[in-house]
């Protein structure tokens, strides 16, 4: 109904009597008054729309900040792992440098030993460079709002980089079943990586509850099914109770004690997956452990407009 229709439908200044009570029930405004009312409504709607737009912008900004906080929180949890990853090569560098120095002072070195020590130092320095580079990339705010082409298999491997040693030292064996020739998708490498890291470190924590002598396995599988890239992260741990499963993606929901874990990891993970127009789901039981399934559609430029 247009404003014009409304104006024509109402004769000017007519009062309506109620059949039952004789009291006037509806005062029908004049065409001019109606015009004014509609004008006022339009102004109100315009200003509410403006307000909504502002709120939307604020929400997007908050969302970006939350993702950043989430990243840093995940990095905090990875912190111990990072320190250890860097510590190992550092130990070798320090010890080999001592070998070289003492060797020169005490005369027990020869060229073969010198070359070996120096090569070990170089190898370890390179490993540290990769790890530090990786951390820098991870904490930098995404500079490509529209994303880049990604190889999901590479991202899976990168996500293990900072966690591998920790997993090994906890006796967890990692099995990768990555499909060859997965098509590239469009997205944010850091965001997807943080999703996988979150699932992997949750699996690691779940294994803490497991008996030391039981075989612990973490499996990551990628495949292409129905124009979607499917990533499955599964463990043979103790499973997730039904009541926890129901809330697992809720922000600030955590089963860890105070101070350990922010409860943001899974909700940010889901948010990141959804930004890639994907879905994340899980199946879990005490008998078979837990399996998270992430599906990422293949359409080009499949990011939601950010």
């Amino acid at each position: 109904m247009t404003k014009k229709d409304l104006l024509h439908a109402v004769p000017a200044g007519r009062r309506q009597q109620s059949a039952a009570t004789d009291h006037p029930v509806t005062e029908i405004p004049s065409a001019v008054e109606l015009d004014d009312i509609i004008g006022v409504l339009q102004t109100k709607v315009a200003s509410l729309t403006e307000l909504l737009n502002q709120k939307d912008l604020q929400l997007r900004a908050a969302r970006t900040q939350l993702a950043q906080v989430g990243k840093l929180a995940t990095l905090g949890t990875l912190g111990a792992g990072v320190a250890h990853e860097l510590n190992n090569p550092l130990t070798v560098i320090s010890a080999e440098a001592d070998e070289l120095l003492d060797g020169i002072k005490q005369g027990f070195r020869d060229d073969d030993f010198t070359v070996m020590s120096a090569s070990n130092i170089k190898k370890c320095a390179e490993r540290m460079r990769l790890i530090i580079d990786h951390i820098r990339q991870y904490t930098r705010k995404d500079e490509e709002p529209t994303g880049t082409r990604l190889d999901v298999n590479s991202i899976v491997k990168d996500s293990l980089m900072l966690l591998e040693n920790q997993l090994r030292n906890s006796g967890i064996s990692i099995k990768l079943a990555l499909a060859e020739h997965l098509p590239a998708i469009w997205g944010h490498a850091n965001k997807l990586e943080s999703v996988f890291q979150n699932l992997i470190s949750n699996a690691r924590d779940a294994f803490d509850e497991t008996d030391k002598n039981q075989r612990k396995e973490l499996t990551i599988q990628t495949s292409l099914v129905n124009q979607e890239i499917v990533v499955k992260v599964s463990d043979n741990g103790c499973g997730i109770p039904d009541e926890v499963q129901a809330h697992i993606f809720d922000p600030f929901f955590t089963t860890k004690e105070v101070g350990r874990g922010t409860g943001l990891g899974m909700s940010i993970a889901r948010s990141n997956v959804e930004e890639h127009k994907g879905t994340i789901s899980l199946e879990s039981s005490p008998e078979s452990g837990t399996e998270f399934v992430i599906r990422l559609p293949l359409e080009r430029r499949n990011l939601r407009n950010n």
Binding site: A80, A83, H84, N87, N88, L90, T91, V92, I93, S94, A95, E96, D98, E99, D102, F108, N120, R168, N169, S170, G171, K212, N213
Partner: protein
């Protein structure tokens, strides 16, 4: 001729084991090596060992604590040095010392010479 003291070096990082091996050989020790807890325990059961130098955290389920227990059982007179690249709480270090460790060393080693000298001194105080 004086019999060589025997040291068992255990760490899943082969380069670390190799660096320590070179040092101990220079100090006149006979060196045995292992890269995981269960091989280490096998050696402890089979060989006479004077000094065990062992990384506290190793993969595959058997770690420094287990090796220490084995040493107490099969080679009780030997010394045990625990080394670690992880953050260790005072309590966990104390626990190791209470269970038979003679020394705890953090990685990276501030000075390789000092650290290996300290370890060697445990078995040859007159060195």
């Amino acid at each position: 001729m004086k019999e060589k003291k025997r040291v068992l070096l255990i760490d899943d990082e082969e380069i670390i084991v190799d660096i320590l091996r070179r040092r101990f050989e220079r100090l006149g020790f006979a060196v045995l090596t292992a890269y995981d807890g269960s091989s280490a325990i096998d050696l402890i059961q089979q060989e006479k060992i004077d000094l065990v130098v062992c990384d506290v955290k190793m993969p595959n389920g058997t770690d420094g604590e287990d090796v220490l227990k084995a040493k107490q059982k099969y080679n009780p007179s030997s010394h045990f040095v625990a080394i670690s690249g992880h953050v260790m709480t005072d309590e966990s270090v104390q626990l190791l010392m209470n269970n038979g460790a003679s020394l705890f060393v953090k990685k990276p080693f501030p000075s390789l010479a000092d650290v290996t000298q300290q370890m060697a001194m445990l078995v040859t105080p007159q060195n």
